[in-house]
Amino acid sequence: MAVIYSVLRRPLIEGDKSLAQVTEDVCSAVASRPTRMWWTAFLTAFTVLLMGTAAVSYQLATGIGTWGLNKTVGWAFDITNFVFWIGIGHAGTLISAILFLLRQKWRTSVNRSAEAMTLFAVMCAGLFPVIHMGRPWLAHWMFPYPNTRGTLWINFRSPLVWDAFAIFTYFTISLTFWYVGLIPDLATLRDRCQSGLRRWLYGFFSLGWDGSYRTWQRYETVYTLLAGLATPLVVSVHTIVSWDFATAIIPGWHTTIFPPYFVAGAIFSGMAMVLTLMIIVRKVMRLEKYITPRHVDAMCKIVVATSGMVGLAYATEFFTAVYSRNPYEEFVFLNRALGPLAWGYWIMVACNVLIPHLLWLKKLRANLAVVFPISIFVDIGMWFERFIIIVTSLERDFLPSSWAGYAPTAIEAATLVGSFGLFFTCFLLFCRFLPVIAIAEVKGVLSYGKNTQGVHS
């Protein structure tokens, strides 16, 4: 049978796959025994997670005095990590919801793992405010419920309360979205297993899915609705995160540019993390035919675009500071670029504004050995961005006699590293037990079995 490629468009999935081949390629990774590489990665991640758990346990038992905070810098490492992880999560929703509404078919190869990344990143993010409370066993006080303290309600005018609602909703909707997308694939896995615990589990969670088109039609409707809800949601989440800062009167934080600046930065960092993970996953799980250089190319373009937005935001902040003639605002930005944390500021500029622009070159976008380190630089740069925004605005406040520096303690560093342990432990388990490619969605974009004229009667 002759294979016909359009001159205009290359197929999204290479290798002219049939439906059964797609099922086989994705499911065999789940069915086979874990490789030695997987075990090494998993045990490393799990050890790091345990180390983080130990650090957090020590901190909970001893108190927040184990952190490097002081009375000037009262908010630093913990909130940096929170914003960093929430930002990472945003790319998953961008791929699964926004690109779905924009009918970007290439998303089908990466959406499953990007959504999983979102879930795990939001889990990591959610941990930090809970740890930050110092008394996490009272975390339920964040939510309004009839209580014996009055009833004393929470303050709905506070951005921190908005944040709690935003993160909770974001996690729940992301989980729902991910699960709804998984149901047909779980049914595929169920029908491939003969018996045993796996079949039972896949059967339980696939809800008796039988592929009826009446169900498929409603499924498509629900998927579109969820995408429509998740799109403004993802914008709202990082907007609200930015309000944690922007509603304060601290110079450097109190600015109206924060919401779009944070949302662009979130998608920037998240897309870089998707690239980091996908370049590894396609290699390790032998999915090169599914996650092709074309997918990497598309994601690189998003990285370049959002890098430009972030760069513009940095410049705008400086311009606004000068143009406002507000001496405190001017000082904060001079302090960022030339003060004690200038090294961090310039790492941020280099990683977020300068290095990603290499990806304008098509040749470099096609070279994974270049794209991979760039994606890691962006991850690092975006972590520094949050750190710089938070710490430099606080360390030198209105009263020079109270100026102080900030350096994280080993406990704080271990907590950050531990959160990476949690993230990778979850991600590796996901790769092991669930299909990393959305099988049913990829089948829908194959050229196999379709009317070659592209016209359905």
Partner: protein, 175 residues
Amino acid sequence: MSRRLFLAAFEREEDALGATQASREYGFRIVDVYAPYAVHGMERAMRLQPSRLPWVCFLLGLIGATFKVWFEYWTTWIDWPLNVGGKPWDSLPAFVPVTFEVMVLLAGVSTVFAFFLVCRLIPGKKPTLPIAGITDNRFLLVLEETDAAFDPHRVRRLFEEFNAVQVEERVEETR
């Protein structure tokens, strides 16, 4: 009561679409089509009505938002008025973010539950797959033989034009 069903399996999307289309043109009663993925255009071929789930989404979103606005006013202004930094009791702009989040949460989660309910997707339910391979690489068209005029041999020949890989008749007991 029992009904006679006519099943035809296909390997390719365009065959399944064509056969469904032809069945409708011949006036056969289409019981259902089974597919490994959401085939675009199938809803037109089967002439399915659009789902009413968007209404569930809209209504529950509206209820969630209304409830949350009321709740925020009630808690901060009536039940336990607390002056925070001299902010006005009527702080509608500050109530918007949480209202939005609750609206999205309720609309999204309830739409999914409504979907599970109308499609009878229940945890642990045993699937009733008419043939093997539907979740892998088979498309299946199920017709009901409504009257004596339904000639299985002619229908079989019709579907063979669409490269049917498996054609069979079944009797299904209905309650």
